[in-house]
Amino acid sequence: MTSLLRLRHLETLEAEAIQIIREVVAGTQNPALLFSGGKDSILLLHLAALSFRPAPVPFPVVHIDTGHNFPEVLGFRDRYVEQLGVELVVGSVPDALAAGTVRESPGATSRNAIQTPVLLDTIAKYRFDALFGGARRDEEKARAKERILSVRDEFGQWDPKNQRPELWDLYNTRIPADGHLRVFPLSNWTELDVWQYIADRELPLPPLYYAHERPVFERDGMLFADTGFLPRRPGEQVVSRTVRFRTVGDMTCTGAVLSDATGSAAVLRELIASRLTERGATRADDRVNETAMEDRKREGYF
């Protein structure tokens, strides 16, 4: 594991994340973990389980289901939470649409924008005062600016010009009236760190992360899964390709990359050679404009 009483970088990141998770659980009343079924939230839940072992994870897992999730991911989610014995809370976008609490703008295919009000309603309904998320600072330039413990107001909004100082590892878990905390224990992990850890510890992932054959079509230089949720435009041909997903989100905004990597070691080799970032390669939601992520965070997004 170690030599000469020095920690390798993955063990340092692991120790930091566990400290943060424990500190927030000790310092808040009603935390929860936002789980998307993606690799980062799977890693985060794994670290939460390590933090309290042999006791169970002492908080529920929240999933905001857009109704456009990959079925493989939902299946994985259900098996994983059952295996860990944690409670699952689902905030459903289709239910919110049916109840009329959110509305889709006409012609919109992505449910990114209406995910946020459903998340905020779920937080309010269960009175969560701290939400763990798997966001990493290397993902995106607005995320690179956010504190590990990020204060959100009663509307879930992030105010990037008014962040609390965050010194050393002395995390301030005090919550302002009506607000809550977003907590990012994986802040300092990179995509490569996550994959190295997954390979080292043999963490299970949904099969989407590894090379598989799938009908896809190309749009804006990205490969999208051919599903009923994302109507094809004229000229967009469906072809069968061997692909894998670098990020797993809503099917309408998550692109795949061509890949032969069928295991975590092969994914690692592929990443080391890659000249594109994971969000740049595969996320249509970040391409809207220069500050798309900051704008969404200001509205309460993770």
Binding site: D138, K141, T291
Partner: protein, 409 residues
């Protein structure tokens, strides 16, 4: 692989964000889509040259104003080390954000504009880094291209900094002549400065010796929470310093009860030995009263248990600190109320002189006494960075007001 956390510091326009952009770019850590985005934004900005600062200035307001407001974190690796870089803002009004970025750094690069020499901000930042206990400092004399790569200019600033830093308690200080804009001595050696025979910035970052920075001498284990199961009782926490071994006698502070380590559970499974900064769960042989906030130490090597704290404080709130103010203090895993006692002096940042003060205003540094109704378990900051520091929190709105280091007389 080993990890190095570093922060940049210095005045506005000394080129911090450009330097980081240059480090990332020349070490091939910038990926194609990021570079394309920067190129697009640079064209929009007007100059046409690739503006590497845009790699880290990610907020809308930062791009609009062309300045850094809050700290940005960037990640890159070479064959030798992994790096986490905190790009901190230079404006004095954003000092709390600079403190945030520097607090977790093992090394700080203070940039100095070769044309202007040391400024109040570069002195302030060097002082803050010293106060925060950042063990390694690099003075990067930047914009050497604008002074004709002149050796005398570099030597003069180096001496100026050496004079100033003689009064700081930073064990390792190195000066380098660079040009972030043109890349001289950042990643590749400069032919324009043959008089300089030291390492480039990147090779210094790859080689600086950090293994001895942590305290592995004094065992201190602050308890974060108690993990209870029908046949299990363990104390979870992150080892602040030192080494713990199964069979060790331990004392629980502040109560003073003693016990023995029955076993240590690490993320990788049970272990006979664990050391700082590992997150572990410790089991004891006796069922004694231990709760969050307590500290395990060795009976022969105990920290101080005290209600009176003598601190060097960096005050970051907008309203001033006065004697008699009430704050919350978070130290290790314990949060307690505290009353502000005497403000002994504030430090004049330029000359490092002490001035009498009745209050500390925003971003001032001074020596402040605190008294707490409950005892804290502390060490002197110069002996133990982890156990010798605290933050002050506003008891009403929960905001973070100050960071401070503890000295024992």
């Amino acid at each position: 692989m080993e990890m190095l956390r570093l922060a940049t510091a210095g005045s506005v326009d000394d080129g911090k964000s450009t330097l980081i952009g240059r480090l990332l770019h020349d070490s091939r850590a910038v990926l194609r889509d990021q570079l394309e985005a920067v190129a697009r934004a640079s064209r929009r900005g007007g100059t046409g040259d690739l503006d590497l600062a845009l790699l880290t200035d990610g907020l809308r307001a930062e791009r609009e104003q062309g300045i850094t407001i809050d700290v940005a974190y960037r990640y890159f690796a070479t064959a030798r080390r992994k790096f986490i870089i905190a790009d901190t803002p230079g404006h004095v009004q954003y000092t709390p954000n600079m403190v945030t970025g520097a607090s977790t750094a093992q090394l700080a690069v203070v940039l100095v504009d070769a044309r202007h020499g040391m400024t109040e901000q570069s002195r302030r930042h060097a002082l803050i880094c010293s106060l925060l206990g950042v063990p390694h400092l690099v003075v990067a004399v930047n914009k050497m291209d604008l002074v004709g790569y002149d050796e005398q200019t570099f030597r003069r600033i180096d001496e100026e900094f050496t004079d100033f830093s003689a009064r700081l308690r930073t064990p390792d200080i190195t000066a380098l002549p660079i040009s972030a804009l043109t890349g001289h001595n950042v990643v590749t050696r400069s032919g324009a400065m043959p008089w300089y025979d030291g390492p480039t910035l990147l090779s210094h970052l790859e080689q600086v010796h950090v293994a001895a920075d942590g305290n592995l001498v004094d065992p201190r284990f602050p308890v974060q929470c108690v993990i209870r199961q029908p046949s299990y009782r363990g104390y979870a926490g992150r080892i602040a310093s030192g080494v713990l071994r199964t069979g060790d006698e331990v004392v629980v502070l502040p109560s003073g009860r003693t016990s023995q380590i029955a076993g240590i559970d690490t993320p990788a499974g049970p272990a006979d030995e664990a050391f700082a900064p590992m997150s572990v769960t410790v089991r004891l042989t006796d069922d004694i009263d231990v709760s969050r906030g307590d500290v395990l130490a060795r009976p022969q090597n105990q920290p101080h248990v005290t209600q009176d704290l003598d601190t060097m404080m960096c005050w970051m709130a907008r309203s001033p600190l006065r004697e008699g103010d009430r704050v919350l203090v978070k130290h290790l895993t314990r949060t307690v109320p505290a009353v502000v006692g005497r403000i002994e002096y504030r430090i004049d940042v330029n000359m490092l002189r002490r001035h009498e003060a009745e209050r500390l205003t925003s971003n001032e540094i001074g020596r402040v006494r605190l008294r707490t109704p409950e005892p804290l378990v502390v060490d002197d900051y110069h002996r133990n960075r982890q156990t010798g520091r605290l933050i002050a929190i506003d008891p009403v709105d929960g905001s973070t007001l100050a960071g401070a280091t503890i000295r024992l007389s």
